[in-house]
């Protein structure tokens, strides 16, 4: 389970302090996909990076499976599979080499690594190209490898930041299928996206962010009723436009 309470974060850019997260609170339960939606610059990536221990919060509390991300970073990282959409695995190593490398980085023993590689190769249909150079793989194959790398240590929590950005239709399906299977397996999944149709299809609950604020969060159907809209796109634009007008 992921729990955020009153998360705030500021960055200083060229001498000017800018608050990028303003009192963000939400939670994501097991066997659930939580979609963090918002336009570019809304604060989605900063929120997910804070969950992944890459960024320290200025204030507020972030917990992963009851471990505080600041106090127990190592335990949190052990429970998290983190993937960003701009991650481009490339180079002359094979998929197997890369998976073994991440196994070592996660301090897994060789037997566990071999077992997990075999499991993931079967689950994600990677067996045919497991020993091929990553640089020679298609976008879909490379994306499968990236996903495999991020969950090699079998994390309970999955944090994906824009996992389908810059991907073709086939590669997007790879990600969608994986997320669906992970949810069935009881994983706790948070993903950010700006593709609303994707969120509508995959997410059990959503949160809409804009200019560092979480404008709303909840089950889509309940949010439609509350805000008198019929779909996620209408909800999104209604809230974002309202926010901009009031600003």
């Amino acid at each position: 389970m992921i729990r955020l309470e009153g998360l705030c974060k500021s960055f200083t850019v060229k001498g000017t302090k800018k608050q990028v997260l303003k009192n963000i609170s939400f939670e994501c339960r097991d066997s659930e996909v939580f979609g963090l939606l918002g336009p570019n610059g809304a604060g989605k990536t900063t929120t997910l990076r804070t969950i992944a221990t890459l960024i320290r919060p200025d204030s507020g509390r972030v917990e992963v499976d009851d471990y505080d991300v600041v106090k127990h970073g190592r335990q949190v990282r052990n429970r998290i599979g983190f993937l960003t959409g701009d991650m481009k695995l490339t180079g002359h190593l094979s998929c197997r080499d890369m998976l073994e490398y991440f196994g070592e980085l996660n301090h897994l023993d060789k037997e566990t690594v071999s077992r997990r590689i075999a499991e993931l190769a079967k689950q994600m249909e990677m067996e045919d190209y497991l020993d091929k150079q990553i640089a020679k793989l298609s976008a879909g194959m490379a994306q499968k490898t990236s996903i495999a790398v991020s969950i090699l240590h079998d994390p309970h929590v999955i944090v994906f930041d824009e996992p389908t950005s810059n991907l073709d239709v086939m590669a997007v399906k790879v990600v969608s299928d994986f997320l669906h299977e992970a949810k069935q397996a009881g994983k706790c999944i948070v993903l950010s996206t700006h593709i609303l149709s994707e969120a509508e299809r995959l997410c059990d609950r959503v949160g809409i962010m804009h200019q560092g604020e979480l404008l709303c969060s909840g089950v889509p159907a309940q949010l439609y009723e509350k805000y008198q809209v019929s779909n996620l796109e209408d909800l999104f634009f209604s809230l974002v436009n309202h926010k901009e007008v009031s600003a």
Binding site: A52, L54, I80, F82, M87, L89, H92, E104, H107
Partner: protein, 385 residues
Amino acid sequence: MMRDAMIIFRKEIRGLLKDRRTLFSSLILPILIVPIIFLGMGSVLGGLQKDAEESVYSISIKGIEDPRFATTVTQFLQYSAAEDDSMADMMVIFPPGYRSGAKASVQLVYDSSSQKNQYAASQLTMAVNAFDQQLTADKLASVGLTTDDLNSLSIVMVDTAPQEARSGGSMLAMLMPYFLIIFLFAGSMSSGLDVTAGEKERGSLAAILVNQVSRTSIAMGKILHVMVVSISSALATFLGLVIALSFPNGGAMFGGAEISAGLFSISSLLAILLGLVSAALFTATVVSLLGCLAKTVKEANTYVMPLYLVVVFVGVSTMYMDPSSNIILFFIPYVNIIFTMKEAFLGIGSASHLLIATISNLVYAAIGVRVVSALFNSERILQTV
């Protein structure tokens, strides 16, 4: 911590060994470049010299009737009398009314833009001087003296330079530090920027940071990798030198016919190696640091290129300098290693200079490692926008 750093190091090395292009530019090219440059240069220069010596020059000689001058000229170069001044490669003009033995200024007309003409002009100058000595000898003979009667002193030169310096080491001391430093730096550039700014640009750095290894270990593993590539490039350059010296007459290209790969003492070679390792570690930390500060490889290149030019400038500007005992120089990165290597190539190595240079570089590198580690431990490391 080192165990985790070695995970990063091993992965980078494995990637390098599978990348043929980087392997070629980091290891194979440096091995080939010194033999190619020196053997190629030696062959071209040798060919030019041979061509200049074997050519028949068209020379117009004017204002002298003494046939002995033409005979003297043939002792220095092959020539034919030019039928027309405009067709002549060069002209030797004695003043009007010149008689052998009279005091006169001889004009030598030649084209300095041609290497062959320059050679012929120097040979003609020697011919004129030889003819002048012949005339002087004639005059002295007429009063019962010889040229030896004019000289009361003779000079015997005693060279105190060590064997290495006398047999071509001075040429090596001039050129090799430059080549070694340049390849050491160039080797660290591609790998150093790829594992820092490149990793950021590809978005894979975040994935590496969300793991069980500490960020300090990641920084150290990457620096270690860059250092190994850097030192390998420099050692490959050195190996190229040894190969060049192993060729027949290889030493002649470095200015001494007796020079050979076995000439250098073990202590000299160790001094060069130690200096290179410390310089490689310093370079690896500096390049990694600049790579961490940049958001993309392109931006990182704009940070590193000025430093590369500084290294080239240091290499070129110290090329013609003699080894110095100025202790300050041995505290300055790159300058210290260049002077330490000069001393080693000349066989006049100083343990204190080597120690100061090595320790200085290691201290600077240690500071660099701390800064790179601090960067890896800060949020700034993930900045790509």
